[in-house]
């Protein structure tokens, strides 16, 4: 589960942790947002790997109004014994590509375009395709994400839109 605010204070989070890029902090067994808005336990992946994977998810489907915790939720399922090797190898590849361009690692390139260049170069790889296609449902099928796009989901329980604006457009 993603833990919400209250569970960790920013102070607790930062004590004994390292930051990766500006968005994430990692400690033993967890990744968290730098704002301490969310934290996620990781069991099978290295915390740094998970943080990088979350960054990769955002770089594939960047929505500036969607917070990191939704991207974290979208890739959390990879933190399993069966998938750990595949993810560690894939993320190591991203870091190696970043290092080849003179960056410390993938998550710390600064501009998004540097990371996108790296991803473009590997977009036909099975690793990229697995992550990308998994995100199509992993990210966009989260009910909590829908309101951020205005999407209202099911309406049957409220009697449909017959009396709730199915034809309320006023500018056409």
């Amino acid at each position: 589960m993603l833990k919400q605010k209250a569970t960790l204070t920013r102070r607790q989070l930062l004590s004994g942790s390292a930051s990766i890029g500006t968005a994430f902090v990692i400690g033993i067994g967890y990744v968290a947002g730098s704002s301490a808005a969310w934290a996620m336990e990781v069991t099978h992946l290295k915390p740094q790997t998970m943080a990088t994977l979350i960054q990769m998810a955002r770089d594939i489907y960047p929505h500036d109004h969607v917070a990191d915790e939704f991207y974290a939720a979208a890739v959390k399922g990879y933190d399993t014994e069966e998938q750990a090797d595949m993810i560690e190898t894939g993320i190591a590849g991203l870091d190696a590509a970043a290092q080849g361009k003179g960056f410390a690692n993938y998550a710390e390139t600064g501009w998004e375009r540097h990371r996108v260049d790296i991803l473009r170069n590997m977009e036909n790889s099975p690793f990229f395709q697995t992550i990308r296609s998994g995100l199509v449902t992993g990210l966009y099928n989260q009910k909590a994400v829908w309101p951020l796009f205005g999407y209202e989901g099911e309406s049957y329980s409220q009697g449909g839109y017959i009396d709730r604006g199915f034809d309320d457009i006023n500018w056409i």
Binding site: Y140, W146, G160, Y161, I162, F166, D167
Partner: protein, 523 residues
């Protein structure tokens, strides 16, 4: 309750599949007093079971058995194991369908005559006189409660429709309306009026949209002449030494094989499974599969020329509110070769929820070009293109012996290449669709590629001459008198129209024919 019909009862008509074709045929025969056993691979779901959530509903209802793809269509790349979007449930794909219910235009029944020789196309005229269909279309419209026919009102226009209509008028289109829909605009047939909930593709929880699942099937069962067995997946059709079919072998809910005897067998498993079943039923007498002396079983697969156009505006549309397919432009449906292609197409509004939009707007797309489109989801309007595609012998369903389904049978491979006529028509339609939205201020437009096929047609086609097709004008196979095809695979050509009204009209007609032939002792 004991089954009304014994497995050994060889007086029954066995229908395979309970969708638009099979579900209607089953009821029509039952109403005439004919004993029917309908075998349906899927389970039984009613409006209270439908889930108004795109992926969950898909998981509940879609046909997800092993399938493979080949050919130059983008679906083979983007959705290689999901060539089609078809339902596995009692009621078949009529649970998912949007309800657009259009008659063929007269010239479309005679495509070969009217379009001439189109290179690479295997065109043929239907062995049916369009005038013969008039009454059957009326019966089908009354059965489905189609709006704007039989004195029924049209549906009101939702937001997505209003944008579409304004754009259509702005570029001079005349024939735009909320269309003919098998959705109640007023209470009728024991079903309520549309509540504009916007989940027509997931099964209408109100029952406002017609589906055989909660109309024809229970009505047929109420006669006592129809037994529907759900989770009964037919594996092969058997025949005797004289070549007549005698029964079908199916796997029941527990995976046990059963043999149901039959007087007549009607295949209505949709255009992938129906030819596959005939091919999988090959025997020493019929080494190429049942009813395949022409070699046409599985060939001439059509899926309609499709595509979509989505557009983003500077203000909200909220297209997901209201009927999924809420309107139609028919100005381009005529045959007018001056546009650079034969046949025509319809433009119909379409709305997808956010989850499906993410999957289908630009399959495989990523990065900001893609995500900025979704950022404007609330301001999006959309339409679907549906036009006549060319039958091609090489577009076909074959058995893929390298991939097996859960019963160990070869999976179907769906091969499709676009015909140049399909491409020319699609490009024309993209241009027109984008113009519609640009005329009312779209800030960005998206010519979106075809989805997995929802209209699957032609793989057991009708022909006058047994050499050219699989069935005659009544859907009776040329080779085996007591074997019929009763679904969209009978289509000789596809027309520009959504196919279901025609499938239903043909099923009503076929029921008349089968009952009459039984009475005459011919079957």
């Amino acid at each position: 309750m004991a089954a009304p019909f014994e497995l050994s009862d060889d007086s029954v008509v066995v229908i395979i599949g309970t969708g638009a074709g099979g579900g209607v045929l089953a009821n029509e025969l039952a109403q005439k007093g004919v004993s029917v056993v309908a075998l349906e691979a899927g389970g039984r779901y009613l409006p209270e079971d439908y889930i108004n959530d795109e992926w969950e509903s898909f998981g509940q209802l879609a046909w997800l058995d092993a399938r493979t793809t080949s050919g130059d269509w983008r679906v083979a790349n983007d959705f290689s194991s999901l060539p089609t979007w078809i339902v596995k449930a009692v009621g078949g794909t009529t649970t998912h369908w949007a309800g657009a219910s259009l008659r063929f235009q007269d010239h479309e029944w005679k495509a070969k005559t009217n379009y001439g020789d189109v290179q690479g196309a295997n065109l043929l005229d239907w062995p049916i006189d369009p005038r013969e269909m008039d009454d059957y279309y009326t019966k089908a419209e009354d059965k489905l409660g189609v709006t704007r026919t039989g004195g029924r009102e049209g549906l009101p226009g939702c937001n997505n429709y209003k944008v579409f209509e304004a754009g259509a008028k702005a570029i001079g289109y005349k024939n735009v309306s909320t269309g003919r829909m098998a959705i109640n605009s007023a209470e009728g047939d024991g079903r309520p009026a549309c509540q504009q909930t916007g989940f027509c593709f997931q099964g209408c929880k109100w029952g406002a949209k017609w589906s055989s699942a909660y109309t024809d099937i229970p009505r047929g069962e109420a006669t006592g002449n129809l037994e529907v067995r759900s989770q009964a997946h037919v594996l092969r059709i058997e025949h005797d030494d004289s070549g007549k079919v005698t029964g079908v072998v199916y796997a029941d809910a527990d995976g046990n094989q059963q043999l149901q005897k039959a007087r007549i067998v009607c295949v209505a498993g949709n255009s992938i499974e129906s030819p596959r079943l005939l091919l999988n039923s090959a025997s020493s007498m019929y080494p190429d599969g049942l009813a395949n002396s022409s070699g046409q079983v599985g060939r001439n697969y059509m899926r309609h020329m499709t595509g979509s156009v989505y557009a983003v505006f500077d203000k909200p549309v909220k297209m997901w509110r209201g009927t999924t397919m809420a309107g139609i432009i028919q100005d381009e449906s005529r045959h007018d070769p001056s546009r650079g292609f034969v046949g025509g197409y319809e433009l119909e509004t379409l709305a997808l929820g956010l989850p499906f939009m993410a999957a289908f707007l630009d399959p495989g797309g990523w990065g900001r070009e893609f995500t900025t489109a979704l950022d404007s989801y609330e301001n999006m309007a959309g339409m679907w293109i549906v036009g006549e595609d060319m039958p091609q012998e090489t577009n076909r369903i074959t058995l893929n012996h390298d991939v097996k389904d859960q019963y160990g049978l070869p999976a179907p491979n769906v091969h499709f290449d676009d015909h140049p006529n399909d491409i020319a028509m699609r490009n024309h339609a993209y241009k027109q669709g984008m113009a519609v939205y640009e005329a009312v201020g779209a800030t960005r437009v998206f010519p979106t590629p075809p989805y997995p096929s929802t209209h699957n047609l032609g793989t057991n086609r009708m022909s006058e001459n047994p050499r050219d097709g699989v069935v005659n004008g009544y859907g009776q196979t040329h080779d085996i008198a007591n074997l019929f095809v009763s679904d969209g695979s009978q289509f000789t050509t596809g027309g520009a129209e959504n196919p279901t009204l025609t499938i239903v009209a043909l099923a009503i007609r076929q029921a008349d024919h089968i009952a009459a032939e039984m009475n005459r002792g011919n079957l």
